[in-house]
Amino acid sequence: MKSDGRKPHTSVYVPEKISTKKKIHDFFVYFRQHPTMYLMLVPGLFFLFVYKFMPLYGILTAFKKYNIFLGKNPLDAVAKSPWVGMANFNRLFNSPYFWKVLANTLIINGLKIAWLFPLPIICAILLNEIRRKTFKKFAQTAIYIPYFFSWVVIFGIFYSLFGSYGVVNSAVKALGGERISFFTDTHVFRSVLVFTEGWKEIGYNTVIYLAAITGIDLTLYEAARVDGANIWQQIWHVTLPGLLPTIILMLILKVGYILDTGFEQVLVFYNPAVYEVADIIQTYVYRLGMGQMDFSLSTALGLFNSVIAFILIVGANTISRKTLSRSIW
């Protein structure tokens, strides 16, 4: 992903037939000359193997009736637990709660995209028009700072504001209204999630779009002004077309990661009173595994999530590469 306009390598590649034998020979020649280059890869590969690839073996749990006491350690128990085929998945797909959490995941992240996706674009265009350097810098810094707060800190801040005895409810009460239980009312809880997500992320995304706007050729604006284009026409005919690749890329990414985002936020913000509207796949995976200790069902649901997410992300990347020649990796 390059947002600075650098073009991907486009050197003409002429394939030549190299025999496997020659390849192996070349490898050994290079290896003898640069042994430290291979040594350098060891720490990274070690962590990659331990934390990313070893868990892949644990996926077998999804097809087994897992019993932790069968093995010397949890991974050994995977090997020794009996196979049950697709039983865990059948259990999952037959449970109405599964469809509920799937729907919640899509609804919550869908709402976030619908409400929050256009905002940073608007902010960046507005911020770009501001001429006073100090104000511009101040605004950029101010809206960017929440991005660096953890979800727990943000929860603390908003709990303080929107809690039963928070300042918002005091105001509502003073105006003669009823106290709103923002964190336990199923009707408003999703709005709390969307709002706080916006509060955290808008500044960050604005900076991305702002960087893209600075890449637009200034002479285009000059030409448009000479032709008598007012500010709206300049935005419509110069800024937006210039931003379009970034906008499309960001949208593709947002949709591609729709199953993978928002987990930590929901985990911190939700409580049993709002499970019905807030429980998403990942939080359910977490409670199934760590709360109910149902490792098999939890792994099955996690695997379902990973497979769909994999398809979405690879699909998103393919679209991005085809239309924008930009790749996530």
Binding site: P43, G44, P55, E129, R131, F155, Y257, E264
Partner: protein
């Protein structure tokens, strides 16, 4: 004709002026929306108890006391949590930056035999996730549950950061490295004496990305640690927020009015905000720079 042109020019200028007005108003509102909630919580932490309970505190302290903050510092596990957060963040970031550089450098060389296969490993790990329980099983099998190692492991190398670093290395001029090689410098010497100094901006950015990831991490720490003494600042704060009612009962047991549930919550949040807010002015430019270097998703 020229009169018409003049008129058109004026209307263009008028539209721009109008738009700029909107921009100032809108951005002022947004900036306030970002800052005021923080000010509110800080004000609440230092306002007197009566004002906090009656909801009088808005965005500036009403009255002044430091009892709530001193209660949080002395009577809760704040310093222990801070210590844990610092250990995890400093060690984790050091390890992660080291592995990221040492991985990105060989992979950035197209002459490096095997770079395609190894790069593929990292791509696979980015798109396919083993899952929460399998990762937990690994951590438990390794016998590192409830240790700092378990908190550090998840981000010891983040493939995305590695790819940002790699693409930066690829953009460096080859000629300097070549001439050093002519002078007999080995791979490690070239990396430490030439490539790293030339890559300071991207290294600063990646370091901060890792640091913020470790500092803010809540989920992996709750998942991989059990004992209260291992709580990092985020886990500690989460517990304070959920248990603030229990603290409130202490108020009835003879503590002063300034120490109430709302005030304690606000004081704990404030103390967790302070390190980030204090460091932010010094590091923000590296983050903004990071976005222009070529990251879209942190």
């Amino acid at each position: 004709m020229s009169k018409e042109k003049q008129k058109a020019k004026e209307s263009v200028l008028a539209s721009e002026k109008f738009f700029r007005g909107i921009a100032y108003v809108f951005m002022t509102i947004l900036s306030l929306m970002a800052i005021l909630p923080c000010l509110h919580v800080i004000s609440k932490a230092v306002s007197t108890g009566e004002n906090v309970i009656s909801g009088n505190v808005l965005f500036w302290p009403r009255g002044f006391q430091l009892e709530a903050i001193s209660y949080v510092l002395k009577e809760t596990e704040f310093f222990n949590a801070l210590k844990n957060s610092l250990i995890v963040t400093i060690c984790g970031t050091a390890i992660a930056v080291f592995t990221t550089i040492t991985t990105a450098y060989p992979l950035s060389k197209s002459s490096f035999k095997g770079h395609k296969v190894i790069t593929m490993f990292y791509v696979i790990s980015m798109v396919f996730y083993g899952g929460m329980v399998p990762a937990y099983m690994v951590v438990r099998t390794l016998g590192i549950l409830d240790t700092y190692a378990a908190c550090i492991l998840p981000f010891a190398i983040v493939p995305f950061n590695m790819f940002v670093m790699k693409s930066y290395f690829e953009g460096l001029p080859e000629s300097i490295e070549e001439s050093a090689r002519m002078d007999g410098a080995g791979d490690i010497k070239i990396l430490t004496a030439i490539v790293v100094p030339m890559s300071k901006p991207v290294i600063a950015t990646i370091t901060l990305l890792y640091a913020i990831t470790y500092w803010n991490n809540y989920f992996h720490v709750t998942m991989y640690t059990k004992s209260a003494s291992m709580r990092t600042l985020q886990v500690y704060l989460y517990n304070v927020i959920y248990n603030s009612q229990t603290f409130a009962e202490n108020t009835l047991n003879g503590l002063t009015i300034n120490i109430n549930s709302e005030g304690i919550l606000a004081a704990a949040v404030t103390m967790s905000l302070v390190p980030i807010v204090a460091l932010y002015p010094f590091v923000s430019r590296y983050f903004i720079q990071g976005i222009t270097i070529g990251s879209v998703k942190g």
